[in-house]
């Protein structure tokens, strides 16, 4: 299950959607808005996506995680719009019969999402200035 949403992410609800009696392990990752990036104070973030491509890439990440590990359910949710410090921007939950697969697939999914999914954030400082973050190498380039 992959989803983009403008609403707050409820991690507990996401956990419920991936849990299963056949799976003894669930791994969850939450990305949350930090108050500091290096020296720079952030007061809020704006997230923007290219939605059809983002959903397609997220679905491909789920397929690849299922191909590489024995997993039960996979949930990948990214929030869009304006987020305050402390809010959840992304959540990845994976259930699996065994914990190694749950951890490995969860970590793969968040790593791949940050590398391949067309979503961008704009960091907004206390002085009202804002900058889109485009620091890394070309997406898809590794």
């Amino acid at each position: 299950m992959v989803r983009l949403t403008h609403d707050p992410i409820d991690p507990g609800a996401l956990l419920e959607t991936v849990r299963s009696p056949h799976c003894g392990a669930v791994a969850l990752f939450l990305g949350t808005v930090r108050d500091l990036t290096g020296e720079q104070v952030t007061v809020f973030l704006d997230y923007e996506a290219y939605p059809p491509m983002a959903e397609k890439k997220m679905a491909e990440i789920e397929v690849e995680a299922r191909r590489r590990w024995e997993v039960g359910e996979v949930g990948l949710v990214h929030r869009l719009g304006r987020l305050s410090v402390g809010e959840v921007s992304v959540a990845v939950a994976v259930s699996a019969p065994h914990r190694a697969a749950a951890f490995d697939a969860c970590r793969y999914a968040i790593d791949a999402l940050k590398e391949l999914v067309p979503i961008w954030k704009r960091e907004n400082a206390p002085d009202g200035s804002g900058t889109w973050v485009h620091q890394s190498a070309k997406p898809g380039d590794r």
């Binding site: 923007e48 397609k56 992304v90 999402l113 067309p118 961008w120 889109w132 890394s136 997406p139």
Partner: protein
């Protein structure tokens, strides 16, 4: 052929536009999209050098040949998560 190229994030802000329309001859490639975009919106030139081009919601190689109706987008370095 006429193509609409979607712009996002820093590219959208620099160009002050959510999309740019470019005209290309038959047989044009993704590399030609880059050239046409830089001509239409010179301010994008530097960011284009660090951006991927998406074609129908996939990352496209520069030598890929366009077909009518292809959906194009500039994908600057992503920062989701």
């Amino acid at each position: 052929m006429s193509f609409t190229v979607h712009l996002f994030a820093g590219a959208r802000e620099l160009a002050r536009a959510e999309m740019v329309t470019i005209d290309l001859p038959a047989g044009a490639t993704v590399a030609d999209v880059r050239t046409a975009l830089a001509r239409a919106k010179p301010i994008l030139t530097r960011l284009l050098g660090r951006s991927a081009i998406a074609l129908n919601h996939d990352f496209a190689d520069d030598d890929h040949i366009l077909a009518p109706g292809d959906e194009l987008a500039v994908i600057p370095p992503v920062s989701g998560g």
